[in-house]
């Protein structure tokens, strides 16, 4: 075995809340970036269609980070700055998106996905979404909620298994 053998992952288990979600560690970690805010809400759902009450999701974008635990019904919500387009390679831009990690009891490694936005025109030509089978792309696109509050509201469910299973990624070598 090499001296630098990669450390395997293990499940986050059911008892992470006191550590990972202490007051100063969750929504307080969202940066107060200038620019417009959006709100996203949804549920984490298991293979029986039941809410996952002991999941924690992490939301990353360029300069901000947030950690949100699901409630008793598997629900979550968070506010963040509306993401901007970022580069893919020297010639191409990515559509605005949020990077999501899902941790839960029973997940031996965190799952990685992305939230795109249905009312963002560049979503259609995003270079990462092009890798996703067309029929499954909708699982990565947040729906704009009809109600017009000051902060735009989006809906995004994370289905771990079964009908409408969310697309989860395995990232390989960097884009060139």
């Amino acid at each position: 075995m090499s001296a630098f053998s990669v450390t395997p992952s293990q499940t986050v288990g059911p008892f992470f809340h006191d550590c990972l979600l202490r007051d100063d560690r969750c929504e307080a970690m969202v940066s107060d970036e200038a620019g417009s805010q959006i709100r996203v809400e949804g549920r984490v759902i298991d293979g029986d269609g039941a809410g996952v009450p002991d999941a924690v999701i992490e939301v990353w974008q360029n300069a901000s980070f947030a950690r949100i635990a699901t409630d008793a019904e598997g629900g979550f919500s968070f506010s963040t700055a509306r993401p901007r387009r970022v580069s893919f390679d020297r010639a191409t831009m990515q559509a605005p998106h949020l990077s999501i990690a899902v941790f839960a009891r029973g997940l031996m490694n965190h799952l990685l996905t992305r939230i795109y936005f249905e009312d963002e025109p560049s979503t259609e030509s995003d270079p990462i979404l092009r890798h996703v089978p067309e029929a499954r792309r909708t699982t990565l696109i947040a729906r704009r909620a009809a109600d017009e509050r000051l902060t735009p509201q989006y809906r995004f469910d994370i289905v771990l298994q079964g009908a409408g299973e969310t697309v989860f990624f395995d990232f390989t070598s960097p884009a060139r």
């Binding site: 450390t7 992470f16 901000s64 970022v86 960097p174 060139r176």
Partner: protein
């Protein structure tokens, strides 16, 4: 124990556990069933998020006294230390390590932990620290106890400390558990056994007499090696292409 082992693995299948591992019952309805979609890493995964670490204090790394009661936790005092490295063996400085564990009797303070092990009013079982410029971390705590769980008949989790590592790159994110080399329960634990056999030793801390402090605490050493390229790989590529 015969168990169904799924084929869906994120990362190196010789290192990382499959999502479906039937012997660990909670994987059955939570493991994805469709293949992961392979995509290239982009700036989104390789750049550094801004973490607010202003709350992290030296006291946070002393779990024997950080309950705020003025009292000291009961149990065998231990020092857990090691280095956080990337897969080239280079230190990862400034990583945020967050740890949580059961007390010496095997009980968590968590409201959903209801088994009749005694609580210790002087022990929260949570700590955190930032790695040094050499990638080193160090916690003072008490050795956690084993505890029963409902996975199968007479199931007991081996003593373990949960570790969350927030490294400078999203692609290096890791949540795992550290075990102790002298624990007879390791081979019976489906969560530990879900890791490919060759990689299991990497989750086990070893007793380190050079870490042990005379008249004070026993020493355990455990290094963490993060998979994946970090932001420097991305920046190097940007520069070479410029």
């Amino acid at each position: 124990m015969i168990t169904t082992i799924g084929e869906i693995v994120r990362g190196d299948a010789a290192v990382f556990p499959p999502y479906l591992y039937e012997a660990y019952r909670s994987t059955l309805r939570r493991a994805p069933r469709l293949p992961l979609v392979e995509v290239p890493l982009t700036s989104s995964e390789l750049t550094q998020p801004r973490l607010d670490v202003s709350h992290v204090t030296a006291e946070d790394a002393d779990l024997t006294r950080n309950a705020g009661t003025g009292g000291e936790a009961l149990g065998q005092r231990i020092i857990v230390t090691g280095r956080v490295m990337d897969e080239n063996g280079l230190p990862v400085p400034g990583a945020l390590l967050e740890v949580w564990q059961a007390n010496a009797a095997g009980r968590y303070i968590h409201k959903r932990d209801g088994w009749p092990g005694p609580l210790d009013p002087n022990f929260l079982g949570i700590g955190r620290c930032l790695t040094s410029t050499a990638g080193e971390y160090r916690f003072l705590t008490v050795r956690p106890g084993a505890y029963p769980w409902g996975n199968h008949e007479n199931a007991w989790r081996p003593a373990h400390i949960h570790f969350s590592v927030l490294a400078p790159s999203w692609s290096q994110r890791l949540v795992t558990q550290m075990y102790f080399s002298d624990d007879p329960l390791l081979g019976l634990d489906p969560i530990f056994n879900a890791v490919p056999e060759g990689a299991r030793p990497r989750l086990i801390a070893t007793y380190a007499h050079d870490v042990t402090k005379s008249q004070w605490a026993l020493g355990w050493r455990w290094d963490i090696v993060l998979a994946g390229p970090d932001a420097t790989a991305f920046e190097a590529r940007e520069q070479s292409a410029a």
